[in-house]
Symmetry: C2
Subunit: 636 residues, 2 copies
Amino acid sequence: FYENKLYGVFYKFQPIDLIRKYFGEKIGLYFAWLGLYTEFLIPSSVVGIFVFLYGCITIESDIPSKEMCDQRNAFTMCPLCDKFCDYWNLSSACATARASHLFDNPATVFFSIFMALWATMFLEQWKRLQMRLSYFWDLTGLEEEEDEKDKLTWNDRIPGYAANCGLILFMIMLTFSAVFGVIVYRITTAAALSFSTNETTRSNVRVTVTATAVIINLVVILILDEIYGAVAKWLTEIEVPKTEKAFEERLILKAFLLKFVNSYAPIFYVAFFKGRFVGRPGHYVYVFDGYRMEECAPGGCLMELCIQLSIIMLGKQLIQNNLFEIGIPYLKKLFRKLKDGRTEPKEMNTNQSKDPQQWDLDYSLEPFTGLTPEYMEMIIQFGFVTLFVASFPLAPLFALLNNIIEVRLDAKKFVTELRRPDTVRAKDIGIWYNILSGIGKLSVIINAFVIAVTSDFIPRLMYQYAYSQNGTMHGFINHTLSYFNVSHLKAGTQPENSPFAQDVLFCRFKDYREPPWSPNQYEFSKQYWAVLSARLAFVILFQNLVMFLSVLVDWMIPDIPKDISEQIKKEKSVLVDFFLKEEHEKLKLIESFITRDKHKQKSGTKDQKSRSASFCQFDRSQKGSVASFSSQHTEV
Amino acid sequence: FYENKLYGVFYKFQPIDLIRKYFGEKIGLYFAWLGLYTEFLIPSSVVGIFVFLYGCITIESDIPSKEMCDQRNAFTMCPLCDKFCDYWNLSSACATARASHLFDNPATVFFSIFMALWATMFLEQWKRLQMRLSYFWDLTGLEEEEDEKDKLTWNDRIPGYAANCGLILFMIMLTFSAVFGVIVYRITTAAALSFSTNETTRSNVRVTVTATAVIINLVVILILDEIYGAVAKWLTEIEVPKTEKAFEERLILKAFLLKFVNSYAPIFYVAFFKGRFVGRPGHYVYVFDGYRMEECAPGGCLMELCIQLSIIMLGKQLIQNNLFEIGIPYLKKLFRKLKDGRTEPKEMNTNQSKDPQQWDLDYSLEPFTGLTPEYMEMIIQFGFVTLFVASFPLAPLFALLNNIIEVRLDAKKFVTELRRPDTVRAKDIGIWYNILSGIGKLSVIINAFVIAVTSDFIPRLMYQYAYSQNGTMHGFINHTLSYFNVSHLKAGTQPENSPFAQDVLFCRFKDYREPPWSPNQYEFSKQYWAVLSARLAFVILFQNLVMFLSVLVDWMIPDIPKDISEQIKKEKSVLVDFFLKEEHEKLKLIESFITRDKHKQKSGTKDQKSRSASFCQFDRSQKGSVASFSSQHTEV
């Protein structure tokens, strides 16, 4: 069993039965679940890699990014900030456009349908595995904890609930303001760096700002995660739940809600809100005096979403899972050793002479704090793998790499770093299953929106089949850019020190708006509404198609594996036969006693006869009850 | 029990337990289900009546219908057919517009959300009632039928499956062509009646055509329903299912698919397709040479959908359920009596002298043909109540009225008209539950589309909040009508004999298209796309909101009633105690035998001792197995 701690055995099956024997069913189920999840990540990683490769291969034949990079297409873009930014040429954003294509291609649509079905399939298979384990581990009859009898009145609970709702709302607000803080940081830093006289600083504004902002986001998430864990625990204690199980469930729900919002708020912002409230040239939206709302890079927000996702996901995994899980316990141990060494130096000396006993060694280990953090980490990762998979097909691969380490790391931690936990029986993974299935359902609608709204998939389709002159993608970039008459720029916002300000009559910006020469200048154009209709129609189509397929998958895979259900049936009939046979034998045995008695004593007392008769009668009634009992409970 | 046949007892509870004792569990479950469904129809009928009353009350304050009826608003509409139809004034469609408002108001939106939650609640409550019944009727242990051992190979099955798919497709095509036939009938009759010289005929064209067409639809549905029932049965026989249960399930699935398509195809056509492929003045879509595609009435298609729904629903219920269910068996009985009377006149005479025996009377009854038609009828009705409830809030009321009769009619039929059916045990309503839950899910998306696409709800909202000058609905009718320059009418399609053809320069038609003076004349206008976006956004919002609420309802109502689950737990612990106590008593009894033997015989034989020892050992092992057995099966 100690082999477990070696990373080299990652390709071997986990010894689930041994884990169960040593740690109990609850931890056994966790490792079984983790194992199945990791196994399921393999096919999705492979498909994800293929989708990514498809993007790489087709990058050369992608007409829109070619058009963007073509130096001859001189699209003069409107300045990105007031006063200090100059007009710029679209071809300078060539690299971003090419990178966007890696994730913004038709294969991604296929991949997100695949991942939605993958999630359904995973949940179904887990149900089956759980059924199998609970059969082999004899858990089917496990009783739920009894509810307490004396209930708290509604009045006792109101303060707790009120504090709960209030604090959870406050925490969520805190998360949102952290996200907003980072946005403000991005806007102000970008503006500040634009003033810079240093040429290199100015040309790398976007990269510098994005990178630092994401890192700030990550740090905020890591800090708030720790705070939220403590707050959720405190809030659940206030509620005074009736049983241990109820306590755990409520704690998990609260902690999950807070950590989910915390982890995903910045990602949601980039996916669905960033760049949508910018306004338009001449009529920008200002956050503070003089600071414009931030826009997405010219390649679309999808690229930024992808960067955000990958850095937060990888950072969280590396820092939280590996550094925190190994580093902090190690530091704690070290600290305790040092303290022990300082306060009890004499005892230590006497102990050192003989070999330390096992309990001495075990005492120096960290106490076990429950499975909740382990599950939480994996569920949040499951969210990264399913929720935004349309924007980052490599997520399953990174999750897989992390988990291969994680399985062994957890095992090593449980075996060598922690005191042996009390064994707890459990027949399923409890509320985590509901959370997983909720994430699975949420992922369908979120992926539909990512593809429809964040990516350029729909506008491209629309252009190719509705607006293009010759059915090709040529001219797509030109079609997505609106015209702006530079003389309509508000006074004081025109670019200063622009070398070619004199030559520019119109600048372009990415939006579907009426040109300056239209009677309704700068209003949303007909194309805008038509593309929006197509986007929304895609969401409806995608969501209903995927939901239908999921129901189909759910319906086709039976919840109880066939061999197990047959085994259970067989056992039941064997048991009934056994009972009946035994009754029969007992009856015969008693009769033999009685006849022998009669034989020996010739005249039996009345008392004796009636006693044996009542015994036999009792026996018969019992036989009936066994039959009815077994027939009543064959349906598990 | 014979009370049942009296309609006067409709307000009393059904004697479900007696039904079960007399007819068996399967029919008992049917009546229990029907009872619960009918009970659930009561609140939805009440809410439906309120929604209808809301429409009636607000009809006077509805500005769009007032504007349509106002004689001073002279909207000259484009002719409804080529050549023979004249320009007409919109105010002549006043009555339809007012009637539309009855069903096309904001209360309907609320009602369809209510009905979606109602369906979820109904299914949850049925699960609980089923659990309760199967507990009290001792059905939890009912074994599924064993599968047959020798399987047919894939090759044996291919012809059957192929015939199946082919014929089902053919049948569905048949339904569609029937629907199309009725459309053609409507178009040609409308055109023919327009030629008529009779003034009254011409003014009532729409009413005449709609009424006759719906009745034809109804007759076609009734005929095809009978054919499809027979075809489904034959198709299932071809498939050679393994067990009786598999046969029934496949038959039901096929029959349901065919009858569902048959009943709803014309309704789907009116809801989502009618009036959408008309083209525009000057560029109409023609079905055949000279026959234009049909349009909806100026009040919108919702009114027509409502008429279609109510006539088909009421007609189906009255004719199929009551006439067929009572009339046909009665006629059959009469026919058989007559035949019997003719062929066996002598025997009858001899029998008439003495009182006829019960078996003679029973022989004259119809044989029982299964519950499938009863369920089918109710499930199709459930579809009418949920699928298009947005367009016809009174559907639950009509269903309720039908069912109050139906429950007693079925009871009377089962008791007095049919031979007593073989009792069959069943622990649930089987595949019908899945079909019900499927209809519930489908109803969410269909209602979303009815509200968004068929009704005028979204255009009104859009007008009020986006286009209206002063935030009121004034001018809405004008906004929804596009202009058409009559000189653009193709030669030969202009109205002949029009008294005011000389004065008309522009006629109006209901659509969002660019006016004749725009550069892109008659193209879809920006409003069209904006309204379309709003409609689709509404569908997404509605669907996800309702699905979320349904999941919440599902989650909040536990599947097993609390008293039942506690009862089951208690029984199990009593049973285990009983086993253990009895074992103990038996052990004591045997010991007393042995000690008595010893006492009396002083020296017992070795043989005897070992026998009793082995008995005790056996006993102990049994005790263990009872405990493990009961612990393994407490989870029902």
